[in-house]
Every structure is written in structure tokens, then in C-alpha cells.
Symmetry: C2
Subunit: 338 residues, 2 copies
């Protein structure tokens, strides 16, 4: 027993993985009374009267694990902002301002710093937000940690909880490009020039679905929402856990470049679409009777909303695609383990 | 000319130093219109109607430069929170919530992570705030970046600008302990056991002057304010630059342990008090006719407010102590250079 306890205390971050590390931290943190958004949702929030919420989010990019060598400093800085804005998008919240902590190695030059600053600014301005402050210090590896601020009405916020049996599950785009792109960037897999460019671009120049998220938030039709940054499968499991429901998925929209890449590399395109991360689509559940109306609203702002399945009472997450039934496993991108 | 330009682009972070790095970043960031607090003050702010401000701050602790080996992980985590709360204190703002980005090396264990979480929680709860969310990722060295949120009325905020000729300059405590403590911790200087303990403690278990800051903010007597985290001399220079005034300093309150340490190590106690960093006192300018009243208010909450000089029109920062006149130089703790 003593040994077991000792071993448990000595598990390293690599053995624990990101999700258990976060659970371990939460266990030791005193909860703020009446938190309007629970720990573990995509953003944090504080009420400041009349149901108005301050919405806060921090997400960190570390050179060691998040920056393939093909990615420029400008792109890495921009991506840090996009990662954070995607979480705001998934809750239907407009980012107003951003503060940044920047850890710089001593070898970085003025030019590097200017490139990072321009990338941060570009990411923020692309989505109407501003960088308004920050901090810098010396680190072994580049670290960029961005913290976003925005406001929302409590009743408009789309949380991970709230999905109801019979709701329609939908996504804002096609999947698998970042998974394929990372296979090219990290594992050297090959593809045609045109496909390769698109796949790599999805990793190094991601977009956040902010207009879609704001439109979905205003629609009043969404019952639960998350972004797919840890992968589509993982996102479904998070929605399931937080809403206490299951899913029957009958359609996974896969990008056409992913089919081409998968075929030439003898990979399963569905695997790439379900279990890759760093893809910033929104995964939402929508009241079925409002679904068509919501699709039109999203099309009106130039986006798309693709139905992928139905919310079920049974907690399982199943797929039934081309007549083949399977369980969608709780796997995906996880820091420390991936 | 071409060569000169090339050299300028190639200056490393070490050659640039923290202050020029920050200037370089600011130069490349598009300013938010009508920023209620300018870039470079201790906090950032966003207006959300009726003169109400959301106050935001991020400050990062990096193991490489900010954590002497005698400091536990619990203490390092707590200190990250204190550093941030001190900035809120200097503006008279109560911290409500904190989000944290945590960069962990893969060698860290469950026990290490729990220790960090407990330290973060302890720092927050000590000052009435709560940790409400965060992010974690893999880094070569421990990185803790905390972001604070609070609210304030625009008219109550104490900025670095606002000091007027004739105002009284005052501080909330005695100086030099962290400078002496860092000499012991980093350079192995000696002292008696009792003094050593107090000096080291000032580095590893700092306090933020939050009650003092909130009381000063509410007094309506303060014209400018900053914390002394980069050293007393540097803080005076920042107030001078931002308020477009100078100072005549005739008293620098030095902790008695610092006199003892300085004597036994043949160091100048005034140097330790003026030019050390990581000391979290407040340095404020106060309308002279309200000074005595303000001193009483601060004493009522158990603090102290010590006059150290007068605001002058001349931009110089001079001291006249024990009949010896000198210029207080713009030196202090600076990341990358120190």
C-alpha cells in the first residue's frame, strides 16, 4: 500500500498526461463560489452583476511541442492567439483584449521579437481584438501564453453541458487536414505538392470559427458547444461527459485533400478526421426543430453547418457510417502524452 | 549604414534587456483606441461602460531566472501570484480571479504538480482571489504565468502618471531586504542566522501590499503609484517619466537587517535599498495637504506610510541624505540583463 502510494506520487507528467495533470491541479484549488462556468469548460468566467460575465481564457504555445520547424515565429505567435480565440468562438464570445506572457531564449534577436509581435498583432486584429499588455522573461525555449478577455450575458453562453436527447449534432467544417498535415510535418509522410500545401497550411495558418460561434451564440438554438482543438472524437466525449448524454454519429465530414493523402499513404481517413487535434472547428448540439433555421443563419454569414448525428440518452458514443458500426474512442491530441 | 541596420536586427535579448524588448513589441502592436490605461503601466484595462474598467495583468515566473534553488515549488507558485497581486495593489484594484498557464518539464511528478497547485491556491486565497482556470503544456523549464482580473472605476485608478510638483513621495515599508537576500541566495554572501533567515524569507515568501493599495486608492489623495518590483530607484524613474516630474529624495527607509548584513559584508546599505528588485512595496505620490490624513488611514489598517521626499518640477531624481547629495540612477532589476 505504501509503495503504491509512493508510486502514485512519483508518476511523471508523461505518465499522467495533460488531462490527469489538470484534474490533479483542480483537486488542490479552492472553488470560487457560484462559478458561472465550471472548471474544465473552454473558458472561465466571473459574474459582475445583472447576469453579465467577464470571460477569460489562457492558452499557451510551447516551442518544444507545438511548433513544427516549418512554422515561422510570426505564424507561431499568430497561432497562439487563434487557439485562444477558438475557445471564445466555441462559447459565442467576442474577444475584446489580449494580454501576453512571452518567454524568450537569450539567442533570440530583435528581428525575432518583432516577428513575434507582428504575429500576435495579426492574430488579434484578424478577429477584431487588441493586444493591450503583457510581460516578458527569459526561458530555455520559446513560450507564448495569451490571455483573452471579453464579456457575455450568462444566458447566451454556450457551455459544454446542455445537450439533450434528440438534439442534432453539427460541425462547422471538414476534418482531418491538421492530422494529415502533422503527419507530413512531424513524421515526414509524402503527398502531392498541392495537397501537401493545403494540409500544412491548416496546421501553420489555422483559422478560428469566430463569426460562426457568435452567430450560433445569438441563434438561441445551441444547447452545447466545444471547439475541436483536441480532436473531434475527444470533443464528442467532452460534450457527452459534461451533458450526460451519448451520440450516434452517422456522418463525419472529411476534407477531400485528406482522402487523397490517406489513400497515397495507406491511412484511414476516418481515423485522421476523428483522432487528430489542433483543428479549430466548432462541435455543437442544436435543438432539432431550429436546425434548418440555424443552418441558414450560418450560411448567411458565409459559413457552413454540417449535421453529423443525433444526441442519445445512452452514454455511448457510436458511429454508423456506410453501414459500419463502431465505438468512437476517447482518444485525441494530449499534451505530455502525444 | 547597411551594416548598422543588420547589427540592430541581430541584437540578442541579452543585449537588448527587458525594457527595450518591451518597447520593440509595443512598436509592432496596433493600439486599442481610447485605452484607459496606457501601455507600460502596471496593469492593462478595458472600459465596459459608465467608466467601469476591467483590469487585467499577466506576469510570468520562469525557473531559469526567478527561482533560487532554496525556493520550493509551493513558494515559486505562490510568488507568481504575489508578483501579479502587487501590481493590482499599486493601482488600488482588488483581484477577483486568476487564470494560470503552467509549463511543466516531463520530469515533474504528481507530488510536484500538487505542490504547485497548492502554492497557487495559497497565494490567491491570501488576498481573497480565486484560481478559476488555466492551461498546461510541456516545457524544458518550469514556467508559471498568471493572469489576474478585477474591476475598477476609472476615476479611482492610481496610474504612474499624475504626480504634481509639491506632492509628497511615500513608500509602504523598508527597503533592501530582497537585495540582501538575493546576495545570499545567488552569490553566497554570509550573515548571522537570524538576519539571514529574514532576508531570505523576503525573497521566497514575499507579501503584496494589497490592503495598503486599496486604502490608498480609496483615499483620493494619491496622484501616482507604482510597485517597487524592479527596485526603488527604477520605480522613481518610471513615475518621473510617466508624470513628467522629478524627485528630491531625503529619506530612504532601510530595514535594520540590511544595515547589519551590509556592514558585515562591506556593502553599501543605500545601494541595496535603491537598486535591488523583487521587493513589493508601493511607491506613491500624495497631495501634501492630505498626507497626514492618509498616513492615519494606512495606520488604521495596520500598515505604514513613510515620506521619502518631494515631487519637483525639474526632471532630475536627486537624493540629499545625511548631507550627501547624489543622483539616483535609472538602474534596477532587469530580466535578460540581470
Amino acid at each position: 500500500m505504501k509503495n503504491k502510494r509512493k508510486n502514485k506520487l512519483c508518476e511523471t507528467t508523461k505518465e499522467l498526461g495533460e488531462h490527469r495533470i489538470i484534474a490533479l491541479i483542480q483537486k488542490n484549488i479552492e472553488l470560487m463560489p457560484n462559478m458561472p462556468v465550471p472548471f474544465g469548460d473552454d473558458v472561465s468566467a466571473v459574474e459582475f452583476g445583472n447576469g453579465s460575465l467577464a470571460i477569460l481564457k489562457t492558452d499557451m504555445l510551447t516551442n518544444k511541442t507545438d511548433v513544427p520547424k516549418e512554422m515561422s515565429l510570426w505564424q507561431a505567435a499568430r497561432k497562439t492567439i487563434i487557439m485562444n480565440i477558438s475557445d471564445f468562438a466555441s462559447k459565442g464570445v467576442k474577444p475584446i483584449s489580449i494580454i501576453v506572457s512571452l518567454g524568450l531564449p537569450t539567442t533570440y534577436t530583435s528581428k525575432d521579437i518583432e516577428e513575434i509581435a507582428c504575429g500576435l498583432n495579426a492574430g488579434a486584429r484578424e478577429y477584431g481584438a487588441y493586444i493591450i499588455g503583457g510581460d516578458t522573461g527569459e526561458t530555455s525555449d520559446l513560450i507564448i501564453s495569451a490571455s483573452l478577455f471579453g464579456t457575455a450575458n450568462k444566458k447566451d453562453l454556450m457551455l459544454r453541458s446542455g445537450a439533450k436527447k434528440g438534439d442534432t449534432v453539427a460541425v462547422t467544417g471538414f476534418f482531418g487536414k491538421t492530422g494529415a498535415g502533422l503527419e507530413i510535418l512531424l513524421n515526414g509522410l509524402k503527398s502531392t505538392k498541392k495537397v501537401k500545401e493545403k494540409l500544412i497550411n491548416s496546421v501553420i495558418m489555422p483559422k478560428a470559427r469566430l463569426i460562426e460561434g457568435l452567430t450560433l451564440g445569438a441563434s438561441g438554438a445551441v444547447t452545447a458547444s466545444i471547439d475541436s482543438s483536441d480532436g473531434l472524437a475527444w470533443s464528442l466525449h467532452e460534450l457527452s461527459k459534461n451533458s450526460n448524454v451519448g451520440f450516434m454519429i452517422n456522418n463525419v465530414p472529411i476534407a477531400k485533400e485528406v482522402y487523397e493523402f490517406a489513400e497515397s499513404n495507406q491511412l484511414n481517413p476516418l481515423e485522421l478526421a476523428l483522432y487528430s487535434g489542433e483543428e479549430y472547428e466548432l462541435v455543437v448540439t442544436i435543438k432539432t426543430k431550429l436546425f434548418e433555421k440555424t443552418v441558414k443563419e450560418i450560411e448567411n454569414i458565409g459559413g457552413c453547418l454540417i449535421p453529423i448525428g443525433t444526441v442519445t440518452k445512452d452514454l455511448k458514443i457510436l458511429s454508423d457510417i456506410n453501414g459500419k458500426k463502431r465505438i468512437i474512442e476517447p482518444r485525441g491530441w494530449e499534451h505530455f502524452k502525444s
